[in-house]
């Protein structure tokens, strides 16, 4: 899917993204702490089923199980050298999960784990090389577009974007911001609106925010960013605050409250909405119902 084709889809109406993936897989038995990328090889039916659930819930766009499938992350997961194979498997599983629906397969790209100084020693060419390897693997396997998510360093986001653009596919780029006293910033200190504008100027086809915050906080970000971003805005908040319970970690938001916040974000100008940590297909179905009722 080219930038123009994505633009036409968004012009026709807002797009509903998917929700969290890791939590769905954990519910299926993925050991907490283990990278979900393993399941592209070990439990393909569970990965396929996650995509199917989001497709049924009404997602227009479903992400591949490749958030941690950049070469450095794969190496950390004990899967060094298997970037092409794992990314290809994930694209195939997402596509099979949709099974004939009209979903867009977004090749998911998360932070590489490499850091620029002073946090680390990574260089721009290094970042570019590893993201290019993953982006090309996703593109070759037939991803419709590429989706960079949860970036907390604008320099890495820009490097990832540059790498993704070489594939010719449309590219979504989303960063993660916290609320500080002076506004919204990444942990590295990148401010919300200037960061999104930099990404738009560098050729991102949609820009926005995911993770870190709950829907009410993200609504405030949308109100600030939507008029200024320059390209369609993405919003994917977490389900709520994680709460530890004897049976495990749960989130304190319910799908109805989440959907009402997401409807407000659409009202405020967001064009691609979905969920991040703690959200599942029930959340996405609730947002779909809210969108239908607008």
């Amino acid at each position: 899917m080219t930038a123009a084709e994505l633009g036409a889809r968004i012009a026709a109406g807002p797009l509903l993204l998917d929700g969290g993936l890791g939590s769905l897989l954990i519910a299926q038995g993925l050991e907490p702490g283990r990278s979900p990328v393993h399941w592209n090889l070990e439990r393909p039916e569970a990965v396929r089923d996650a995509a199917r659930r989001y497709a049924r819930a009404g997602s227009d766009v479903v992400h591949t199980n490749t958030f941690g499938a950049s070469p450095p992350k794969l190496e950390a997961a004990g899967l060094a050298g298997r970037c092409a194979e794992i990314n290809a498997a994930a694209v195939r599983l997402a596509r099979e999960g949709f099974d004939g629906t009209r979903c867009i397969v977004a090749g998911d790209i998360g932070p590489t784990g490499l850091h620029f100084p002073p946090m680390g020693t990574a260089t721009h060419p290094e970042l570019l090389a590893v993201v290019t390897e993953q982006a090309e693997a996703l593109a070759r396997a037939g991803a419709d577009l590429l989706s960079i998510e949860t970036m907390y360093d604008l320099r890495e986001a820009l490097a990832a974007l540059q790498a993704c653009r070489t594939t010719g596919l449309a590219v979504l780029t989303s960063m993660t911001f916290d609320q500080k006293k002076r506004g919204f910033f990444t942990i590295m200190g990148d401010p919300l609106v200037p960061s999104l504008q930099a990404l738009a100027a560098a050729g991102a086809d949609a820009v926005g925010m995911n993770c870190s915050v709950t829907a009410p906080v993200m609504l405030a970000m949308v109100r600030e960013a939507a008029p200024a971003a320059g390209v369609p805005l993405i919003a994917q908040p977490n389900a709520g605050q994680p709460l530890a319970t004897p049976s495990g970690v749960v989130y304190d938001a319910d799908p109805a409250a989440f959907a009402s916040d997401m409807a407000a974000m659409l009202q405020a100008g967001a064009r691609l909405v979905g969920g991040c940590c703690g959200t599942d297909d029930a959340f996405i179905a609730a947002v779909r119902a809210a969108m239908a009722g607008r």
Binding site: E31, G33, P118, M119, M188, P242, A244, V249
Partner: protein, 212 residues
């Protein structure tokens, strides 16, 4: 340079993330006869505490905090040998790491750096550390404290396993937990002795835990 001026300079060098200047001023301080302890307590510690305050205020971000800790470390490298003569100032022995399955390193490293800069003997085990490794190191070092970071809701359960494993091993080390999804309620629920939601707080909590 007068002592007061040197102390203010050290404090500012930390805030400016200026490693060479921090090291140079530390040497000057020793050359003028200032006790190393005074340079630390009157210059470096106020600097790093101010950095922590600016972080809380949203004025400093991770690069500044890491830079300030780096400047403090550079000065400490100069001052440490002078301290050794006057008796060890080691506050306690700490084993720190990010739990297994979690490769988030930044926050944990920052805590480790600040703990070391504040006088603890710190063994940083890195990220993706199995519970058995924490236990082994705690036993080897007779650690006072084991600090475990978890940045994912999916890995924080390892913190509970760690508390249980240390207890089962009969070790005296107490546990401090931290990381984005970790709350005081979670710490209490799993039986961790301490919780900190940032690196500056971690130092204060660690001080309290090794004293009590």
């Amino acid at each position: 340079m007068a002592h007061e001026e040197l102390l203010a300079g050290l404090r500012q060098a930390v805030l400016d993330c200026d490693e060479p200047r921090a090291a140079r001023l530390a040497r000057e301080a020793l050359d003028t006869g200032m006790p190393a302890l005074r340079a630390i307590d009157g210059g470096l510690v106020p600097g790093i505490q101010e950095a922590g305050r600016l972080w809380d205020e949203g004025e400093f971000f991770l690069p500044e905090l890491v830079g300030a800790a780096g400047a403090m470390k550079a000065a400490m490298a100069v001052l440490q040998p002078a301290l050794a003569g006057g008796g060890s100032r080691e506050l306690g022995r700490i084993v720190i790491g990010t739990v297994q399955g979690d490769i988030h390193d930044i926050g944990k490293s920052l805590v480790a750096t600040l703990l070391a800069a504040n006088g603890f003997a710190v063994s940083d085990e890195g990220a993706d550390v199995p519970v058995e490794r924490f236990v082994t190191r705690a036993r080897e070092l007779d650690a006072d404290l084991v600090c475990a970071s978890a940045l994912l809701t999916t890995t924080m359960v390892q913190q509970r396993t760690l508390v249980e494993a240390l207890r089962a091993a009969g070790l005296r080390a107490r546990v401090m937990v931290g990381g984005a999804p970790v709350t005081p309620a979670w710490a209490a629920q799993i039986g961790a002795a301490g919780f900190a939601d940032n690196a500056v707080a971690a130092v204060a909590v660690a001080r309290g835990l090794v004293r009590s």
